[in-house]
């Protein structure tokens, strides 16, 4: 049988690792796929290329796929999220000026950092994020919008390509950023910023990137869909096996897909980030999850949370839920030993600790998935 050729788009970030490992360690080839990974210059370009059929699949910001399905902003198309590629993994950092004004605040404390940041802000906070429809923006706003409004501080979202985030901080174009690795660690290494809060401190289990395909393509190519999902699932499982991590860093730095040195790849992969120049790495529990705790399962309640944060009405929320294809996930991944949760929606934010739940094989541990404010999001069904 000849290999099926598949063109997959990605933006060079550490969390594109599952795609790179699927290709480089031949998980894709073993599934009969000849995977071509095509780096994209921007999220808009990635979206257009996917929607217009130049890419069969893409690593996409979870809110971008939801926004496209709901017809928000730019090009809309019916996009399905086949699986979650990574959970968490973004980081909030501040400029040196802001860092001085904030004073000494413990890294990763959501309450103290919010207070200090708002106290240090002068009327307005300019926040760099990679794209308007991103978890970066949604989580930042979830964390700070209400408190900022109370304090009379305006939040201005400034879309900035991640590789330029450190420059934007240095040149005073933004006061604070939320960005995916390696760009937080790069800002620290360049001495232009200090990291204050990993996004996992805002929501402990946030879907960050998804594997996105056109809805019609998924319908017309069920075999290829399944093969791709299995290959990436195996790559994600490999990545989340502790003993593989040094090798993962090595492969990612050697492959041409990222074009980054191992020193900036290591922090995210080893979940240990140095918050400021010269400081040792601090362990961040669950900073970036590829596979553990059913990370790849596309929970419909996650899509609903995103849609709700994008001010969707009931109909929009339903559309968003349907675009997270937990049905296909069950269909294609049960055969390779992925443990399946009993339901496809959960009460988001209800697990303060890792929790054993009912599942097909009986080994599934979920969470923690708590929000920093202790709130629980009920997507309304099947819980």
């Amino acid at each position: 049988m000849s290999a099926t050729h598949l063109n997959c788009g990605y933006v060079p970030l550490i969390d594109s690792a599952p795609l790179i490992i699927a290709k480089e360690l031949n998980f894709a080839a073993e599934e009969g796929l000849e995977l071509t990974l095509t780096p994209q210059p921007s999220w808009s370009a990635l979206r257009d290329m996917l929607a217009l059929g130049h890419l069969e699949a893409a690593q996409m910001l979870a809110p971008m796929s939801v926004a496209m399905s709901m017809g928000l902003g730019g090009l809309s198309a019916q996009i399905d999220a086949l699986m979650v590629l990574s959970v968490n993994g973004t980081i909030i950092g501040v400029s040196q000026d802001m860092s001085k004004a904030m004073g000494d605040v413990p890294f990763a404390d959501p309450t103290l950092n919010a207070e200090a940041l708002l106290a240090a802000a002068k009327g307005k906070l300019r926040v760099g994020v990679p794209f308007p429809f991103s978890m970066h923006r949604l989580l930042f706003e979830y964390w700070l919008s209400d408190k900022a409004a109370e304090a009379g501080i305006e939040i201005e979202i400034v879309t900035t390509p991640p590789p330029r985030m450190a420059d934007a901080l240095e040149n005073g174009l933004v006061d604070v950023f939320c960005v995916g690795e390696p760009w937080g660690s790069v800002a620290v290494a360049r001495g232009v910023g200090r990291l204050i809060l990993p996004s996992s401190a805002i929501w402990q289990f946030a879907p960050e990137k998804v594997l996105a395909v056109r809805h019609e393509w998924a319908n017309e190519n069920p075999e290829t869909c399944g093969a791709l999902m299995r290959a990436i699932y195996k790559a994600a499982r490999w990545l989340d096996t502790g003993s593989n991590k040094p090798l993962a860093v090595d492969i990612l730095s050697r492959s041409a897909h990222l074009d980054l040195p191992d020193t900036v790849i290591d922090p995210a992969i080893s979940n240990s980030l140095s918050p400021d120049m010269g400081l040792p790495g601090e362990h961040v529990e669950n900073f970036l999850i590829f596979n553990r705790h059913a990370a790849n399962f596309p929970w419909r309640s996650q899509a609903a949370w995103i849609a709700a944060r994008l001010n969707a009405d009931a109909e929009g929320i339903e559309t968003a839920k349907k675009s997270f294809r937990s049905d296909l996930y069950r269909q294609h991944l049960s055969t390779i030993g992925a443990d399946m949760p009993g339901a496809s929606e959960k009460l988001e934010g209800s697990m303060r600790h890792a929790t054993a739940v009912a599942s097909t094989r009986g080994h599934l541990i979920l969470g923690p998935d708590a929000f920093f404010d202790g709130k629980i999001f009920d997507s309304g069904q099947e819980v």
Binding site: W43, D48, A51, L52, G74, P132, V158, T159
Partner: protein, 194 residues
């Protein structure tokens, strides 16, 4: 020509920006504007409210432009041209040429099309020139490497230039490789050993 159309070109490279403006000017448009520095983009979009924005598909600032368009006034909001899939041939041609365009909602296709066609043609020329330039640079770099490899062989074996090249070529043929690859391997090995 449709001189009232306000056209904004987002391009940080002055030479490329000139080239695009020249092409549009030559075809009769006069209301043309360029922004190179993305930090000025927000202000430019507000003061100018362009009808059409042209930007390289490979420009990472597209996401910034996209965001600014999204939050701008609804009545003059430019949207990505690809939204309009009515003219698939033109969309595909734009992508091939590496052009993306944002067009104010409601602007008639007859007014947009000539602008896009001119831009596509110019982007194609620029892309071709870039490809040729890259090829020329690569050829020059290859030549230097091969010359160094020849020099190494001449010195080590005490033979002439032609003989050294013949040896390189034979070695490449025997291994089923390109001459440049064998030359590169030799140069790398020599650098490591010296």
């Amino acid at each position: 020509m449709d001189q009232d159309l306000r056209i904004l070109v987002v391009e940080p490279d002055p030479e490329r920006a000139h080239s695009i403006i020249d092409a549009l000017t030559a075809d009769g448009w006069t209301n043309l504007h360029v922004v190179g520095d993305v930090t000025a983009l927000d202000r430019k979009m507000k003061t100018l409210s362009p009808d059409i924005v042209l930007i390289d598909l490979a420009n990472p600032d597209r996401d910034t432009l996209e965001h600014i368009s999204m939050v701008s006034d609804a009545k003059s909001r430019p949207v990505a041209m690809f939204v309009d899939k009515t003219d698939d041939t033109m969309t595909q041609a734009a992508i091939q040429a590496g052009l993306s365009a944002y067009v104010v909602d409601g602007l008639h296709m007859n007014r947009i099309k000539p602008v896009i066609e001119t831009a596509i043609a110019r982007f194609q020329v620029m892309r071709k020139m870039q490809t040729e330039l890259d090829a020329a640079k690569r050829a020059l770099a290859d030549r230097k490497t091969i010359d160094r490899a020849k020099g190494l062989i001449m010195k080590a074996r005490g033979i002439g230039e032609d003989e050294a090249y013949a040896l390189l070529r034979k070695s490449a043929m025997d291994q089923g490789k390109k001459v440049i690859d064998v030359a590169q391997a030799l140069v790398t090995a020599s650098d490591l050993l010296s």
